[in-house]
């Protein structure tokens, strides 16, 4: 067996060495990219080992082990790293997503090497990318292991900084700069909330104490007055929620994800935003040890709202990566919803259901990590090949990049929660837990949970629509632009990386029963044994919820589906259908050529839903017709735009930012340039302070 501490040290060494090595190699060489990928993979493997050690550990309670404790690095804050089950699970997530993404980045990043005909014109420094990349992964790994306040917050901000550098990597674009700025500011605001939260968590019991380690906080949190606990919870909820992308703090996400290079988007969406969930679970389950029912209710409601909001905006957004980013808001919402439900159940004393919901949340975290990174990698492959993400100029890629299309399809099916892929199992468990919630005695909880159930169901339908659009418009039919027409299949390593994730999507769907007991173990470590009945039972290949309420055998289901498909094919063959097939041109109402302008567009696809939800989108219609001549009937150029309103940007952040700037402009008059005014300040403050002192 490996020694966990040793693994951790090796892991840190690998990433640091990686950062140095990548920086030292020639910036534009293949070696740079290879080293970056290899070190990333090696680190990921170490993280995987660590995760497996942690998950296997058969210790009572939360089963935590201190891996490393460095006293006196900062006199006011020792560094300490602890491995427990929750950390192990998130380590698993980082490794599972990190390894393929690192592999993917080797071929993907050649995009940023300058072209021979334009030396240095638009080259970006891959060495610096490597440094930020390694530090980013390292800080994510360490942040889930951190077990003192300083360690945690330090790494949390370091993670933000590293990801900021990655987001602004393509810094020549104005949009990217602005996305980076917004991201950094939003994440810092979240950090401030976290900082205050952690400080308030420490409470009066720890005034003289120097470590503020989690184990101390756990004890001091119990002694806090309940209002303070509530405030701490709210601050933490805001802080972690803003990282997870919950509304109304999600605004950075749809901007940062499209701006970042695709491997980074995959990592940020697949892993980093989950660390917000990690923090929230760590605080509510572990450090605060649960709370009143409204905590969970709040998380549930905000989660449900995020899920709906996210998917509704994903539907009407035609930038492939931004669509995926909104979909991340949605999935973070689903995870929050499930976590909130778990807390509600827990506070009601029904640990059986709480475990069920939490297992669902955890499983969805892993699943989303896998399929969202797959989808981002797919989008990256499309971007690399066509240099555009606008769906209205894509299309027909299934012929030109069949593998990418296949993998993207797998990702889309998974995210739409269709069996036998992994998304289905996670959402099924979450739905089961909500359906079983009638067992709770409280009426109030019913309202919340029913709302959550409705939100989840509606979301599920809309996700399918959104991804039908994403896949259908981008990959099927004819290419809508020359770039899309000239697209070529993604390079080999990128295909492998996507393939790994696609296979994982399938395996996590079919073999869910192998992993679920581990998640059950994590949940029970915090929630306690199932009460009053069994929430989630796993026997062999079958998952059962409640007392014979529902059951699912993903593997059998998968085999059944496959058999059905085979039977159908076989039946068709028997009926001789294939022989009757006649190939002819696509029917185009007798026209001679098919043109992409005849195709269904993403806008058109989304329009019915846009009209149904017009009360939300409040679409703005802008029709401009250019008529160069005197007659208004001969239009030269007609442009029609129908953008949706971004509520939070328009009605919340915009006014607040403008208000602050307005105030600041007023306040700047203090420095008005007059020497006499300045001297008056001194005279006034002197007299005021003296009189105050006398008084």
């Amino acid at each position: 067996m490996f020694d966990a501490t040793l693994v951790l040290i090796v892991l840190v060494a690998i990433h640091l060495a990686g950062a140095v090595a990548v920086y030292l190699t020639r910036q534009e060489s293949l070696l740079t990219r290879q080293l970056n990928g290899i070190f990333g993979i090696a680190g990921g493997v170490m993280a995987l080992i660590l995760a497996l050690i942690g998950l296997q550990r058969n210790l009572p309670g939360s089963g935590s082990t201190v891996l490393l404790s460095l006293e006196g690095v900062m006199p006011f804050a020792p560094l300490e790293f602890t491995l427990d089950r929750l950390s192990s699970f998130f380590l698993l997530l980082i490794a599972v997503v990190g390894i393929p993404v690192s592999l993917y980045s080797i071929d993907y990043m050649r995009e940023y090497v300058s072209h021979p005909d334009q030396p240095g014109a638009h080259a970006y420094n891959l060495g610096l990318f490597g440094v930020a990349y390694q530090i980013f992964i390292l800080s994510m790994i360490l942040v889930v292991l951190a077990s003192t306040t300083f360690t945690f917050l330090f790494l949390w901000e370091l993670m933000a900084l590293a990801s900021y550098f990655l987001v602004v990597f393509e810094h020549r674009h104005r949009d990217t700069q602005e996305a980076g700025t917004l991201y950094l500011i939003m994440t810092h605001l979240g950090f401030v909330a976290l900082f205050i939260g952690f400080m308030l968590l420490s409470g009066p019991a720890l005034v003289g104490n120097t470590t503020l380690s989690f184990s101390e906080l756990r004890i001091s949190a119990l002694a806090l007055p309940s209002t303070q606990r509530d405030i701490v919870f709210l601050l933490m909820f805001i802080g972690f929620g803003s990282k997870a992308g919950m509304i109304p703090f999600h605004v950075w996400l749809p901007q940062a994800h499209p701006a970042a290079p695709s491997p980074v988007s995959a990592l940020m969406s697949g892993v980093m935003i989950k660390l917000g969930i990690y923090g929230l679970l760590r605080i509510t389950l572990d450090l605060l040890g649960g709370g009143p029912g409204w905590w969970g209710g709040l998380i549930l409601v905000v989660g449900g709202a995020s899920a709906l909001y996210g998917i509704l905006y994903a539907l009407v957004d035609h930038n492939l990566k931004r669509l995926l980013a909104y979909s991340s808001v949605e999935n973070a919402g689903i995870i929050l919803l499930a976590s909130g439900a778990a807390l509600v159940f827990w506070s009601a004393g029904n640990t059986a259901l709480a475990t069920l919901a939490l297992v669902g949340a955890l499983y969805h975290i892993l699943n989303h990590g896998v399929f969202k990174s797959l989808l981002f990698m797919g989008a990256g492959a499309v971007l690399q090949s066509t240099h555009t993400l606008d769906m209205e100029s894509l299309g027909g890629l299934i012929k030109r990049m069949p593998w990418t299309a296949l993998f993207f399809l797998v990702g889309s099916v998974s995210i739409a929660a269709l069996p036998p892929f992994n998304g289905f199992v996670g959402e099924w468990i979450i739905l089961q837990s909500l359906l079983l919630s009638l067992a709770l005695p409280s009426q109030g909880a019913h309202i919340f949970l029913t709302l959550g159930l409705g939100a989840l169901a509606l979301t599920g339908g809309l996700v399918a629509a959104a991804f039908v659009k994403a896949f259908g418009i981008s990959f099927l039919a004819l290419p809508r632009s020359a770039q899309a027409d000239q697209a070529t299949e993604a390079p080999r390593l990128m295909r492998w990386a996507m393939g790994i994730n696609a296979v994982l999507c399938l395996l996590l769907g079919l073999l869910a029963t192998l992993l679920l007991p581990a998640l059950q173990g994590i949940s029970r470590a915090y929630l306690g044994p199932d009460q009053p009945t069994v929430g989630l039972a796993i026997s062999g290949l079958e998952v059962r919820t409640g007392t014979d309420f529902g059951s699912l055998s993903p593997l059998l289901l998968g085999i059944l589906l496959a058999l059905l498909a085979l039977i159908a094919l076989w039946g068709l063959r028997l009926a001789g259908i294939n022989e009757l097939t006649r190939r002819s041109m696509t029917w185009a109402c007798g026209r001679f050529t098919l043109s992409p302008r005849m195709e269904y567009t993403a806008t058109a696809f989304a329009n019915p839903l846009k009209r149904i939800f017009a009360f939300l989108y409040q679409p703005v219609r802008a029709l401009t017709i250019e008529t160069p001549g005197a007659s208004p009937h001969f239009a030269q150029d007609i442009s029609y735009r129908n953008p949706v309103r971004l509520w939070f940007e328009e009605y919340l952040y915009g006014p607040v930012a403008r208000g602050i700037v307005w105030l600041a402009r007023r306040a700047s008059l203090v420095q008005h340039g007059s020497l006499h005014l300045y001297l008056t300040y001194i005279l006034s403050i002197l007299v005021i302070l003296l009189v105050l002192t006398r008084g």
Binding site: F195, V670, L675, Y678
Partner: protein
Amino acid sequence: MLLLLLSIPLLLALIIWFLPASLRVLQLAHVVGATLLLTAGIGLFVQTYGGAVPTALNELLRVDLLSGLFVLLITLIAWIVGLYTIHYLMVEHQEHGVSLRGGRQFYFLLNVFIFAMLTAVTANNVGLMWVAVEGTTLATTFLISFHGTRAALESSWKYVLISSVGIALALIGTILFYFVNVQAGSEAEHALNWTSLRSAATSLNPEIVRMAFVFILVGYGTKMGLAPMHTWLPDAHSEAPAPISGLLSGVLLNVALYALLRFKIIADLRLGGAYTGNLLLGMGLLSLLVSAPLILNQTNFKRLLAYSSVEHMGLICLGLGFGGVFGTFGALFHVLNHALNKSMLFMLSGNILQRYQSTRIPAIQGLLGLMPWTGALWLLGILGLIGLPPFAIFASEFAIFRAGLTGGSALHLVVGIVGLILLSVIFAGFVAHNSPMVYGDPPEVMLAKDPPDVPPTGVGENDDPPVYPLWHTLREKLTWATAPLLLNLGLLLIMGIVLPPFLRETLQRVVLLLGGGS
């Protein structure tokens, strides 16, 4: 060692006055002198670290660990600035018509300035300390108006008048301390000595001590750049030549802080920490409050940095005001971090100004592309300055706010949270100003193939599009203009991740000292 330390800059000033007129020779002399000074500074620090408290001139000078720390800081930054001037002045000389006489004057005043600062932090006699602090004002006035532009003159007039008036108030405070000390029965000859004040501290008249501290706070606070007495600071720091800005912001403010600390120790011994603490909290919060909107609205990057100095001095005051082990420790740590970080940024701003010929933020684009060294250092410096890890300011701000938020005092909690919110505003301002400067492509004119004929005139004064000589379009190499600053960044990085044990112990001992220990 103590007298040696003080004599080096004084002698150097004299030597420079009589040296033959060649910039290279002047620079060589200064760099050698600065290196010797650094050595002496380290020597003195090591001595005090070992527990010695050297005194000189009939206890007129006395160096304990607190002084030792500041001596180390001054000599270190002065050394880095000295190295930086090599490239900076050469460019000024070759391109902006700075005469050899000007160069000599520059180095002469620079050394007088350093001498005055070192005297201020080694003086035991608080009267002498006052004289030295006022001396720094006088030495720097002409350094600030070095470029002789309208703005430079305006700023130096404001600087000299506001600082003199402010410092004069500190003299009143000093006299009042002397007065109460004599009243308490101390020997008149030594009653201005800090050691005498401290030993008599508990028997001083509390009401007058309270009043005297107000004078001290307003007086040295002016020099330190606390709002609302900070008004000279953005003008002076933005108009001074870059190395001088670096020294002003990085060190001089801290010298004023040092003077304030000395009196705070005495006042605290008599009044308990709450009185001075609350005053400092008030001033600190006011400084944050004043600097936040001005940072958000800033269009001049040197003024941006200057207001950030107001902010950071405010933060240090908050740390001292919160008190306790962490607050004071954090404040002291922050002094070091801010000095290293801000001096680096001011010197970088000099590089940017020389290359882009403008101090306007919108005029600066594509820094990373055009000046990779300066740009990268600037970017990291700014990110460090606004408190992102792994740079050291994160750690010190953590300690400061930890002290405020976990102290159990409702007032501290409120001040801490308001402070954090203001810091977020400042953070947003910096990030928003910074990214268009650093990223993107340089302006078109900077990439012109043909060299313009007209040499550039003035330095960032008017809004006319500046004219660039050919070398301005070349990619920057590592030169004396950036190489010394790598040291700053390296130190910030190291201190942000692992505080070196000797520094940690120093700071802890100084914290005890500030608490009234010996």
